[in-house]
């Protein structure tokens, strides 16, 4: 049994506590995340998913309910200790680049946490190698592509050797290639280190890679389960304003046209495999 790294218990948060008519951004939400899991939090705009990210690292505190991270209840006292164990990557690659060069940016969190200089040099190299950006040590941010900047941001988070990495829409501003780069980096990291990852996204292709999905709608948890389980309720997802992955959508449309497809396919390759083998069976 793995240890629980993050748990939310009956958390409610509203941006306008004095105004009753405003729907809380997050309402009575509970979930737990175990060490080593890859969780995707999905939902359309305004579903409360970014608010959850802010609640998880203490940028916001819930109006009611309890947030527990790394086994400690989130409070003003434990805040910095908890933050030093989790990394976070945001949406806009430019607006989270603090340092003047790649290596300065990666070192920023280390400097803040008082890591000695010799140790810093080692860790900066190590984390840049993990995201394959070690050749860009001295580059300035405006010479990097969006995907590269996001990888540097991941390296900056990794330098602290966190137990948990939160990606808050980290791929949504990237071009398809940049998105692939970032997703590939996360996959490799997970394989190499078993890092716990929470990715907040409205891209279901990205979410399909996760171990578990939590689908948010209007501040509530709508669905929870493995990608296969969640995607099975296809029409419900579409009602929530989410786009199914291409392969799933294709399957639905083909079935509608009377093509008999057996499995639920998460990726294009799987679907293609079934299609061409089924034709040869006929």
């Amino acid at each position: 049994m793995n240890s629980i790294i993050m748990s939310l218990e009956n958390v409610t948060f509203t941006y306008a506590p004095e105004d009753e008519s405003v729907r809380p951004a997050v309402a009575d939400l509970s979930f737990t995340i175990e060490e080593g899991e890859w969780i995707a939090l999905v939902g359309h705009n305004g579903s409360g998913k970014s608010t959850i990210a802010k609640l998880m690292n203490g940028l916001l505190f819930p109006n009611s309910g309890k947030v527990t991270a790394m086994g400690k209840p989130m409070s003003e006292e434990t805040l910095w200790d908890i933050r030093s164990q989790m990394g976070m990557v945001f949406q806009n690659p430019d607006n989270q680049f603090v340092g003047a060069t790649v290596q300065d940016d990666v070192a920023f969190a280390l400097e803040n946490n008082g890591v000695p200089h010799e140790e810093m040099v080692v860790r900066v190299k190590e984390s840049l190698r993990q995201v394959k950006m070690e050749d860009y040590m001295d580059q300035e941010p405006h010479h990097l592509s969006g995907g590269q900047k996001q990888r540097v941001a991941i390296a900056g988070a990794l330098a602290l050797r966190p137990r948990l990495l939160i990606l808050d829409e980290a791929t949504s501003m990237l071009d398809p290639q940049g998105r692939m780069e970032v997703i590939e980096t996360i996959r490799e990291l997970r394989k190499a280190t078993g890092l716990t990852v929470i990715s907040i996204t409205h891209d279901l292709e990205e979410a399909a890679l996760a171990d578990r999905l939590i689908v948010m709608n209007q501040g509530h948890k709508q669905l929870e389960g493995s990608p296969e389980q969640v995607f099975r309720s296809g029409s419900e997802l579409i009602k929530l304003g989410l786009d199914l992955p291409f392969a799933m959508r294709m399957t639905h449309l083909l079935r509608k046209e009377g093509v008999d497809i057996k499995g639920e396919h998460m990726t294009e390759d799987e679907l293609v495999d079934e299609l061409w083998t089924s034709y040869s069976k006929m």
Binding site: N57, L59, W80, R83, S84, M88, F90, N92, D94, N95, Q96, F97, V98, G99, A100, T101, Q103, D104, A107, F108, A109, L110, E111, N112, N113, G114, V115, P116, H117, M120, V121, V124, E140, P141, H142, G156, A157, L160
Partner: protein
Amino acid sequence: MIEKMIFGRYIPGDSIVHRMDPRAKILFVFIFIAVVFVANNALTYGILLGFTLFVVFLSKIRLYFLVTGLKPVFILLIFTFLLHIFFTREGDVLLSIGFIEIYEEGLRQGIFLSVRFLVLVFITSILTLTTSPISITDGIETLLGPFKRVKLPVHELALMMSISLRFIPTLMDETGKIMKAQMARGSDISSGPVKERIKAVVPLLIPLFVSAFKRAEDLATAMEVRGYRGGEGRTRYRQLDWGFKDTFSMALLVGLTAVLWYYRT
């Protein structure tokens, strides 16, 4: 035009001047500015000019590059030189063409002032040309360190400086984008009377300000998440290394001052 300007530009390189500690370079420039005023005759100004050219030689920056890059400064230089020549009326008359009379003292003053100006511009340009902005910031932060005692927010100032430097290209890009967007909507910035052009800048500035504030907010969040709590208890990734060459440069400066002092009249 802007590409050719070398004010505040950094040219990466590997000369001895490039490798000097930024603190030494900043101190050097400040002391040098004071020392320049010790010179007061042909010999001392000559020594000063020679010394400056020696520094330029050490920095491995081509003199031609320096001269073409500082063209606007030379216009100013020639202007002040001419002012001195025509308006100083002391000493013997050297030349008189019609109503224009050039006096000996005028020529002397003109040349001296030009040399002084040239030397100052060269040395300060060498500082910015051979030191990356981030190193200059580091240097200033450590040099101002003692002022922390009198509650000067040294760390914050340095961080502000480095973040501003970091965001200059980002905001330049943004300005370009907004400009194109406004042009696509029919706004005309590059022609018309000055008053109209100034008016046309407003729709450029407002979106730029809005986005800059948004960026600032995002950046603040990102910094907080990465554990930024102000200067206290922070360690530094960039280490400054005061070596022999830095001490030597200071000694050289002391030597120069002594020589100038000896030969001045």
